[in-house]
């Protein structure tokens, strides 16, 4: 479960490679075989068949109450599906999974632990060094000794990100983690997340209400509607070209908005 930290991110050789996760073999493949989830007799997910390749960055958009959080909880193992199977790298799994980490909309830091102990919550051998290294990666090396209450909302989410990555998960789930942040902080978080995803190579699944956020960050956007994947859109624009006003980007956004 505990994979030692790499000392430095591997060099990026070609500009095209930059667009993919540069580290391979870290992310895990995620597959859904006719997965359904119902609460009582209300069906929330009505049959998902889906494969998310290792290392892909997927955004999930959909209306409020459409089952996005439910989907996350199934992947994280907090709930079990009503029927169907979720497979990680081919193996069907139920229950909590150590190689899947979840970033909540509210950072959910333990208020009674200092930042470093929050990041190293899973403990394990030399957790302090590992936690400190991850804090440095998210740019908060000097806040290790602070109580969470002194941090800003964006800083709390960065601590939560460091905490999620400290055990080097193969899948990172992000349930609207930037929803409560202002536009500037959000843009910072986007850059940080993109950089970290490239370096660590995990499979990322991001829930968002913000279609612009989805097409800016993801390789692929899934539109969840009526308990099914209504649209599966590949964002075929290099990340470097995804600046506001790019016509192809606007077209994708329109297409997603229409199908939500």
């Amino acid at each position: 479960m505990m994979v030692p930290l790499r000392a430095a991110p591997p060099p990026q050789v070609q500009p095209e490679v930059q667009d993919q996760a540069t580290v391979t073999g870290k992310g895990l493949e995620l597959a859904f075989d006719s997965v359904t989830k119902a609460f009582g007799d209300v069906g929330v997910l009505k049959g998902l068949d889906l494969v998310i390749p290792a290392g892909q960055f997927v955004a999930v958009v959909g209306r409020s109450g459409g089952g996005k959080t439910t989907l996350m909880r199934l992947i994280a193992g907090l709930d079990g599906p009503t029927s169907g199977t979720i497979r990680i790298n081919g193996t069907a799994r139920r229950g909590l999974q150590p190689d899947v980490r979840l970033l909540f909309q509210d950072a959910r830091l333990l208020p009674w632990q200092r930042v470093l102990s929050n990041v190293g919550i899973a403990r394990g051998p030399d957790w302090k060094e590992r936690a400190q290294a991850l804090l440095a990666e998210v740019g908060l090396a000097d806040r290790a000794g602070d109580w969470p209450y002194v941090l800003s909302g964006g800083q709390k989410q960065r601590v939560a990100l460091a905490r999620a990555l400290v055990t080097e998960p193969g899948i990172l789930l992000l349930d609207e983690p930037f929803g409560a942040l202002d536009a500037l902080t959000r843009a910072d978080m986007h850059r940080l997340l993109t950089r970290i995803w490239r370096q660590h190579g995990f499979t990322a699944i991001l829930i968002t209400h913000d279609v612009a956020e989805a097409v800016a960050l993801a390789d692929r956007v899934l539109v969840l509607r009526d308990g099914r994947v209504a649209e599966d859109i590949t964002v075929d624009i290099p990340r470097s070209a995804r600046v506001g006003g790019a016509p192809r980007l606007a077209e994708l956004e329109r297409r997603i908005l229409n199908s939500v």
């Binding site: 907090l78 150590p98 909540f104 959910r108 333990l110 009674w112 632990q113 919550i121 899973a122 209450y149």
Partner: protein, 262 residues
């Protein structure tokens, strides 16, 4: 300038009590106040000094403190343990909680005659009463504290791989700590109150006995001394519990105002 201001701030609240004390002293010494009604403050000071020197005051305070602490440890510990168990195990709650809630409605001082029948006026009677008195505030606050721990944090702990023990020690217990400490502060208040009543009614030692004994000999100064000692002990317990709260809840911004001003 600010120093004189601070000095004034520190002194002004003391002016009125000191003036009252002076008036009281003069009135008592001039004979306007009978010594049997209200002895002069200086007489109380003398009583304090003599009982301190002959060792009787420390003796009685020691005995009272011992009863208080013993009762607190037994009753508080039991209440805490019950709160932990019922907070964590729904089955235990089903079995125990409604019975405890029923018992809670009996004012513990109402059982004094029962307790005297059981234990006579021995040490057990006092310790038992204190223990019963502090049990419920500790139980209720611990139980409530554990139940009201942020479910989101518990869920986070599970997703981040904490086992049941780690989850309890690192998430649930610290989350319940503010409520537990409130329970402790309540318990301390009840502890002294119970002890005063119990020692006044039946005892052959302790501060309550000291004052009741003095009453028989019309030593009003000793009675007042006993009252003041009770007040000081109560204050001391309060200061100790506040200090504990500050230390244990350092992470909580609402406990920081005092520390940062210092």
């Amino acid at each position: 300038m600010t120093r004189t201001k601070a000095l004034r701030r520190g002194l002004v609240p003391w002016l009125l009590p000191l003036a009252l004390l002076a008036v009281w002293e003069v009135a008592a010494k001039a004979g306007w106040l009978s010594a049997r009604v209200l002895p002069a403050p200086s007489d109380i000071a003398v009583a304090f000094w003599t009982t301190l020197k002959d060792g009787s005051l420390p003796h009685h305070v020691g005995i009272s403190a011992e009863r208080a602490v013993l009762g607190l440890v037994i009753g508080g510990g039991l209440g805490f343990a019950l709160g932990l168990i019922n907070g964590a195990l729904p089955l235990a709650e089903d079995i125990l909680d409604s019975s405890l809630q029923m018992l809670r409605n009996v004012p513990h001082l109402a059982i004094i005659p029962m307790v005297i029948l059981w234990f006579g006026i021995g040490e057990e009677a006092k310790v038992f009463l204190v223990a019963v008195g502090v049990l419920f505030p500790m139980y209720l606050n611990t139980f409530h504290g554990i139940r009201s721990v942020d479910r989101g944090l518990v869920e986070m702990g599970r997703v981040y791989g904490l086992g049941p023990v780690a989850l309890y020690l690192r998430v649930i217990l610290p989350g319940a700590l503010p409520a537990i400490l409130v329970g402790l502060r309540y318990a301390l208040g009840i502890m002294w109150l119970t002890l005063i009543v119990a020692e006044t009614i039946s005892a052959s030692s302790g501060i309550g006995y000291m004052t009741m004994n003095a009453r028989e000999f019309l030593q009003t100064d000793m009675v007042l001394l006993g009252i003041i000692v009770y007040a000081l002990l109560g204050k001391l317990a309060d200061i100790a519990s506040r200090w504990l709260e500050r230390r244990a809840l350092e992470w909580n911004p609402s406990f920081h105002t005092g520390l940062e001003a210092a």
